[in-house]
């Protein structure tokens, strides 16, 4: 297990390094000048030049890359061009929204999607299964921003149960903060739950055909016992991979949903930074998002290994 983990960590480190290089260099050719944007349409050329020097933009690309990279190792990502504040602090502030949002959506989609998938698989072909799968089919097909908007119309504008958006920092009022995230989390989670339910059902239906389920039943277990004791855990393996990938979708989803609910998340930081050509913030934020996805995939790999002794000992997962 430790060997497995160390191999993976090495892989994660290499991936992150490559990602950092690609993100930095790609964005360096981005058209537009942060200094010019900050000073606006009537700015004089010498003011722009002064600001460029001030921001360190006149240094060569590679030099700036290595400054940034070494900063990364020390947790110091530099100072935002437009906001004149440490990037690390800016991002930590935004992660307070994005991370709980993505994680609670992941949690919600899991506790909604998996049981529905399991129950549907157990009642395959019956009314419950059919109606659950029709709902899931629709859930998969609804664009999440559209769904988010419907939620706002119902729960915020019409019934006023939850706020239509906005966010109060956790430190100020944790209950209010959590309340602000309820609708966004649901908007993100339900489509994903529909996907999970479908996959869980397919996977469990497959597993229920497996020989070891028959062995378990021959042993004397009832069908339900066999499904819960042997089937679900095995059926979860492919679902786990999907959940890892789903996190990538959730990250994408948070960026979209943040706009609907005007949440101060990482996605909006990226957009506002792009529109100010605050490249240092854009790079670091994108890298953090990518790192989050990689981290979750790493956790999924570890969980996979923890659940499945074949991988734990084999060291390699095929496929």
């Amino acid at each position: 297990m430790i060997g497995f983990a160390v191999t993976r960590i090495f892989g994660v480190a290499v991936t992150l390094l490559v990602a950092a290089a690609i993100i930095f260099l790609l964005l360096d050719i981005m058209p537009g000048d942060p200094a010019r944007f900050m000073l606006g349409i009537n700015a004089t050329e010498d003011a722009v030049a002064a600001l460029r020097t001030d921001l360190g933009l006149d240094k060569p690309t590679l030099e700036r890359f290595f400054i940034w990279l070494f900063g990364l190792f020390q947790g110091d990502l530099g100072i935002s061009f437009s906001q004149r504040e440490p990037v690390t602090a800016l991002m930590l502030e935004r992660l307070q929204v994005s991370l709980p949002l993505a994680l609670s959506a992941l949690f919600l989609s899991t506790i909604i999607g998996l049981p529905i998938g399991i129950i549907a698989a157990q009642n395959r072909g019956k009314f419950g299964d059919t109606s659950a799968m029709i709902l899931a089919q629709i859930g998969v097909a609804i664009p999440n921003f559209w769904f988010a908007m419907l939620l706002v119309l119902l729960f915020a504008v019409t019934w006023r149960i939850f706020p239509p958006g906005g966010f109060v920092p956790w430190g100020e009022n944790p209950a209010h903060a959590a309340r602000s995230l309820v609708l966004p989390a649901i908007a993100l989670a339900l489509p994903q739950a529909a996907i999970l339910a479908r996959i869980m059902r397919t996977s469990l239906v497959d597993i229920m055909q497996a020989d070891f389920i028959r062995t378990a039943r021959a042993k004397g277990l009832s069908l339900n016992q066999a499904v819960w004791r042997h089937g679900v855990r095995n059926a979860l393996l492919p679902v786990l991979t999907i959940m890892g990938l789903q996190f990538a979708f959730l990250i994408a989803g948070t960026i979209i949903v943040e706009n609907v609910f005007y949440l101060p998340g990482l996605g909006r930081l990226i957009f506002s930074a792009i529109s100010a050509r605050d490249l240092i913030v854009v790079r670091s934020s994108i890298l953090v998002l990518v790192a989050l996805v990689i981290l979750v995939m790493f956790i999924v790999d570890l969980t996979y290994a923890w659940v499945d002794p074949r991988i734990r000992q084999g060291g390699q997962r095929d496929g």
Partner: protein, 495 residues
């Protein structure tokens, strides 16, 4: 159409009746204001973003003068001033017993610091032009300051009343980006990045005190989210509501009050005058004849906006009504194009920055110009891209921009400006205008300038951008117009 609105309104009314006690009442001295764009930072002397001024101008920071609702210059930190006979030296008498929010006292040294900082070689002030004519700033005593300018200037007092010239203290100037410290009626409390800025009443303020205790400025960029936030009672108003299409809904809803005013934003179809075929005045005139202003105002802004025929604010006393110069006339436009050698029309690029007026207006204008054979390729760009393409590289054919600087006809005298309009006659007029202090003379010059640029059809003049505020009906004291970038909350109060 109206039926649907009615239904929606009735439904919302019912809910409002049930829930009104939670929405307001208990916290009557607090105010939550929606704002579309979040500022990059909060130092108005170090950035062009209007979003900075919308929060801090007149609320947190004050200048020597201030601009009132009608665009007139009023005393602020300078209680009075005198101008020398040659028009070159301004003597300001400063307000006494003023302290900055951090407790430091305000005196002539702060004014000196402010102006020296803005004028300095390495200054990053976005409007360095305001300070360029200044040759000297001296403190006569602790509460008297002399400012000398190189040539007489008509709008100097107005200019130093703008957000870029607010007075900052040397102790706090560097940290104003995150914790602005000024002398205004509101104190900065905190800024939750990405979300909101909170300001509260400055108890030590010596002028006319603010009537609300605390104001929260919430950043909502999505027009639909803005609408939801208002309807859900989450914000009390928007000084600039981002969705003109929804105004009719709020107008029909008695819970809300829609304030329609004007901004200093002349919205124009800008044309690259140095580039063929636009260097031919006939082509530009053809374009002007093809434009149908009201359709653009209706289509893009849902009727909000005043048509203009030149680059000047219609509410300004110097405004010259030139709307009739180029009536919509497709045949004439085609004839002009044929004269210029383009009987079949031509293709051109149309770079559209993000605001609604531009993106929507662009589609409508493209349809209108297609009628005279000009095929436009619409290219959506964001502001940095637009600045790089337009201002720096002059790589565009058409664009739509709202020029929000007050009294900015002077840009036509700069051949390097992105229109690349180069007319020595106009340049002479503007030069003269800049050094003329006499109002009647100034008016004459300004009107002449307007006529010239309209005759030359430098740009397509579309409409004056409206300021459309949506507020809870119980609020009063909001500014209907935006004579300068800013959003003065001092007079806002619950009825």
């Amino acid at each position: 159409m109206s039926q649907i609105i009615e239904k929606t309104v009735k439904k919302s009314l019912a809910t409002a009746a049930i829930l009104s006690f939670t929405a307001f009442g208990a916290l009557a001295s607090e105010l939550t204001v929606g704002q579309v764009l979040e500022p990059p930072h909060l130092d108005p002397t170090a950035g062009a973003a209007a979003a900075i001024d919308e929060i801090v101008y007149a609320n947190i920071f004050e200048g020597l003068t201030r601009i009132d609702q009608n665009g007139a210059v009023q005393p602020s930190l300078a209680t009075s001033w005198t101008i020398s006979d040659d028009g070159l030296t301004y003597t300001f008498n400063l307000k006494k017993d003023v302290i900055f929010h951090d407790g430091t006292t305000f005196d002539a040294d702060d004014v000196l610091f402010t102006f020296e900082r803005a004028r300095a070689e390495d200054s990053t002030n976005a409007q360095k032009g305001i300070f360029a004519p200044i040759t000297a700033v001296e403190a006569v005593d602790t509460h008297t300051v002399n400012i000398t300018i190189a040539q007489p200037q008509g709008d100097f007092l107005f200019n130093i009343g703008r957000g870029d010239a607010v007075v900052v203290a040397p102790e706090s100037a560097e940290t104003n980006v995150s914790t602005p410290v000024g002398t205004g009626p509101f104190k900065f409390v905190k800024w939750d990045k990405g979300s909101r800025v909170v300001i509260e009443k400055n108890a030590a303020y010596t002028g006319e005190a603010a009537s609300i205790d605390k104001a929260t400025i919430v950043f909502i960029s999505d027009p639909n989210a803005a609408q939801n936030a208002l309807l859900a009672g989450e914000v009390d108003g928007f000084a600039n509501f981002p969705a003109p299409e929804s105004l009719s809904i709020f107008e029909a809803d008695p819970r809300f009050n829609v304030l329609r005013g004007s901004t200093e934003g002349e919205t124009i179809l800008s044309i690259n005058n140095a580039k063929a075929p636009f260097n031919d005045v006939r082509v530009r005139q053809a374009v002007a004849h093809a434009l149908h202003r009201q359709a653009i105002i209706d289509g893009a802004m849902f009727g909000n906006g005043t048509p203009i025929g030149t680059h000047f604010a219609p509410h300004h006393p110097f405004y010259e009504d030139l709307i009739g110069t180029y009536p919509r006339d497709i045949e004439k436009a085609k004839a002009l194009l044929a004269d210029a050698g383009y009987p079949e029309g031509f293709k051109a690029t149309f770079k559209l920055p993000p605001p609604t007026y531009s993106r929507r207006g662009g589609q409508i204008i493209a349809a209108q110009l297609r009628e005279i054979g000009i095929e436009l390729e619409l290219i959506n760009v964001d502001w940095p891209q637009w600045l790089a393409d337009g201002v720096k590289a002059k790589d565009y054919d058409f664009s739509i921009v709202s020029h929000v600087e007050p009294f900015d006809i002077g840009i036509y005298a700069n051949p390097d400006y992105y229109f690349q309009y180069d007319n020595v006659v106009l340049q002479a007029i503007i030069e003269k205008l800049n050094v003329t202090a006499d109002e009647a003379k100034r008016e004459e010059l300004a009107r002449a300038a307007q006529k010239i640029i309209t005759e030359d059809a430098v740009n397509g003049y579309l409409f004056q951008l409206a300021k459309t505020g949506v507020w809870k009906a119980e609020l009063e004291g909001m500014w209907p117009n935006s004579p300068v970038e800013g959003n003065d909350l001092t007079a806002v109060r619950w009825k």
